[in-house]
Amino acid sequence: MTFRGPAPDAVIVGAGMLGAAVAYFAAAAGMSVIVVERGSIASGTTSRCEGNLLLSDKEVGPELELAHYSQYVWRGELAEHADLWEFEAKGGLVAAASEAQRAGLDALAEHQRSLGIRAEPVEGPAALREIEPAIAPHLLGGVYYPEDAQVQPVLAAHHLLRLARERGAEVRTHLPVTGIRIVGGRAVGVNTPDGAIDAGAVVVCAGPWSGDVARLAGVDLPIRPRRGFVLVTEPIPVTIRHKVYSAEYVENVASSDSGLQVSPVVEGTPSGTVLIGSSRERVGFDAGFSAEAVGRIASAAARLFPVLADVQVMRTYSGFRPYSPDHLPVIGEDARMPGLWHAAGHEGAGIGLSVGTGRLLVQAMRHATPDVSLLPFRPHRFADADAA
């Protein structure tokens, strides 16, 4: 047996952004934790996304509340570390191509403003080009979100885990979880090829693979992969200053369609490359190249920023968002299996929502009342719906 000494308070399954955030807040609260990861740190969805901290794309509801709370954690408790993960408050710009889209954006922005979110109307094409000079002339206007920000997610996960280790956490990589130990109807640890790890709680932070891990405890968690592609251009002089996307992005994020959906999301980065998304499709864990998805992303991006047409794309990559049927993450203890906790299913918003999620989850694990209610995120809600 590899693991000796007293059982830790929690074993965290997965060293992606969510596992790192939970480990950080647990260790900061004085809990003893072991993080078990089958690959290396941030080797799943975390290293295949853009690191968005967005308010702009959230419909009014529990997810927006969680996003707002996470912003408060990123900019508050974690502010001293912001440079470590290249925190950048670049601001987001949503552009409308039709009057109908403009009306929709305006209505959403008004709702968001009522919750204290800064959402500034951009009236007309000229105002739009004042914010983004290279944007296509056919766009009619939009909404600007100065609080939208970005981090480098791989660095964020690595540094949160480093800080957790400094507070006593242990991180075991290249160690898969092969079983969840259950005693008296309660999750009490995990099995690995190196032996069993007993713990006060098991926290599943396995992103799109969380359903597979939960199944080891006999629990159904309907988290599925939703594939997305990103195109990365050669480094170019500063051309795009904000995160810019078109109005249909908001609709696509909220849709449950399993077919291919594409909406352009374009942003410059400090290294000069331009990141171009986005696509959504439910094709299982197929990591192959899709000419259709990449082609449609490229086409949509060139319509949003015609200047990009002649820029060289040097890399494409794909990743799997953890999709949940109602677009809300699962956060909290599973009523069907005491001792089994979840922090997963944030789909395309996991980086931004991670720190709020980690902080709230640890509050709940320590029997404190979470700063934001976790009730809408309860893991067994899908089973409730089936029963109803």
Partner: protein, 485 residues
């Protein structure tokens, strides 16, 4: 939009070096309609690189040491020409294939490499990937100073442009290619101060039988040695360059004696003056297209990731054949034979008559060359402890300017524990070349820091590049218009 689609080819061959040319003419002469796509303006690849034939005055007078197999090239070129004129083969020169994708059953997408070419999309029933290899580069302190070149680059300037890249040269690294480069430079009038071979070279002597079974190689090697002796070029074994000197331009290098693992011996420093440092550490197979189609891979005896083939050059993917350095670096003779065998197999699989005697002869030639290559790789391996030559401020990745200290810190402080993890954490290999230059060095450095030897899966992850070369956004956008139709 112009119609860029070329339809209904029986075979698409990617690469026009020794392997690709042999595959093309072998399959074409057996009746297949072949599209040959190559980045070069004229055929020959790196091995038969030569000045532009549109300007005959610049053509080489083939010398005994530099133009090996030139007659074979001329023969292949003539056969290719005949097939092109007869309409069996289309030669799509000046195009860089960036992806091989599914689509009735394959779509080969290529972007223009030069001004004279348009992008093309080739529909083909079968594919031969003969994409060759490029210089394996190991950083040392000072290696980014102008005047430090990969040995292959020095050779390409000599062969392709008759340009001698320096006047006073040190050639260092390992393997017989150093001799070829040094001999070429000496014949071109450069003063070769030293050829530094990192290994003891007892390996060559230890396998005399294998060498004798490959008479071409022996004659080739003897030719270089004669040239080097005639020019009184010092040849030193167990010696490496551990630092290059000069600001703005190379002025010299520090040579060190090393032990078997590559650790420098105390007190062995020697400074030599030079204006050109040519470093040759072998070659890395260009594998992104093979990895992209899902072909099975393995780690070869020289530490490179290579693609797996059966005895007939079939990859693990139905309809995809591999030939040349992508199956393991083995030189031009092996590449040519593998190309011919791949062409023969593709033709047979397409229902054309087989030629069992030719097949047997090619297999024997490949087996013989392969035995020689394995002995050569064993004798001229990269010393495992070479990363000890690096200072913390030595750049590993030139594109993103990531130094050794940053890579070491990613491992030590951030617990990044494999090359892929280090890459996404510290950004080596994230720039324009996408890790082609620094990938091998990075995996060695991480391996030393973590004390874990990289597995095939780690190397495959580093070699995964859905875009085998950069492509204009507008060109990618054309895929949205359903060219597959």
């Amino acid at each position: 939009m112009p119609d860029r689609t070329r339809s209904d080819y029986d075979l698409c061959v990617v690469g026009a070096g020794p392997a690709g040319l042999n595959a093309t003419v072998t399959a074409g002469e057996r009746g297949l309609r072949v599209a040959l796509v190559d980045v070069g303006v004229q055929p020959g690849g790196q091995y038969w690189r030569h000045p532009d034939e549109r300007f005959p005055d610049t053509l080489p007078q083939p010398s005994a040491t530099r133009r090996h197999g030139w007659r074979e090239y001329r023969d292949l070129d003539a056969r290719l020409d005949a097939l092109v004129r007869g309409g069996r083969v289309v030669h799509l020169a000046g195009r860089h294939v960036w992806g091989v994708h599914p689509g009735r059953p394959f779509l080969v997408r290529a972007t223009a490499a030069g001004e004279d070419a348009d992008p093309v999309v080739v529909h083909a029933r079968r594919i031969v990937l003969a994409t060759g290899a490029y210089d394996r580069q190991l950083p040392v302190p000072g290696w980014t100073t102008p005047g430090v070149m990969a040995a292959g680059g020095v050779q390409a300037l000599l062969a392709g442009h008759h340009v001698r890249a320096g006047r006073r040269v040190v050639v260092a690294g390992t393997g017989p290619f150093l001799l070829s480069v040094a001999a070429g430079l000496a014949e071109a009038g450069a003063e070769v101060v030293a050829v530094c071979e990192a290994n003891a070279l007892t390996g060559w002597a230890a396998h005399p039988l294998r060498t004798l079974q490959e008479p071409g190689k022996l004659v080739e090697g003897a030719g270089y040695v004669t040239t080097l002796l005639r020019h009184r070029v010092p040849f030193r074994t167990r010696t490496v360059i551990t630092a290059v000197h000069g600001t703005g331009r190379v002025t010299g290098a520090t040579l060190r004696r090393v032990d078997r693992r590559g650790r420098a011996r105390a007190g062995s420093e020697e400074r030599v003056d030079a204006d050109l440092v040519a470093l040759g550490w072998g070659f890395i197979p260009q594998l992104e297209l093979a990895v992209g189609v899902g072909a099975a891979t393995r780690v070869d005896v020289d530490g490179s990731l290579v693609a797996v083939v059966d005895d007939d050059q079939r990859s693990s993917v139905s309809g995809v054949y591999l030939a040349g350095e992508v199956t393991g670096v083995g030189g031009a003779v092996q590449s040519g034979a593998e190309g011919a065998l791949a062409g023969l197999t593709a033709a047979a699989d397409a229902g054309r008559a087989d030629d069992p005697r030719l097949r047997a002869r090619l297999r024997r030639r490949i087996a013989r060359a392969h035995r020689f290559a394995v002995a050569m790789h064993r004798a001229s391996s990269v010393p495992v402890d070479w990363p000890t030559w690096l200072a913390d401020d030595t750049l590993v990745c030139r594109c993103e300017e990531v130094d050794t200290g940053t890579v070491r810190a990613a491992v030590r402080d951030l617990a990044a524990d494999d090359p892929r993890d280090v890459r996404v954490t510290a950004r080596p290999g994230m720039g324009m070349c996408q890790g082609r230059m620094c990938g091998f060095a990075l995996s060695c450095l991480v391996s030393v820091e973590t004390a874990v030897t990289p597995a095939a899966a780690d190397l495959a992850s580093l070699a995964t590049r859905p875009l085998a070369t950069p492509v204009r956004l507008a060109e990618l956008a054309e895929m949205a218009d359903g060219e597959e139709g």
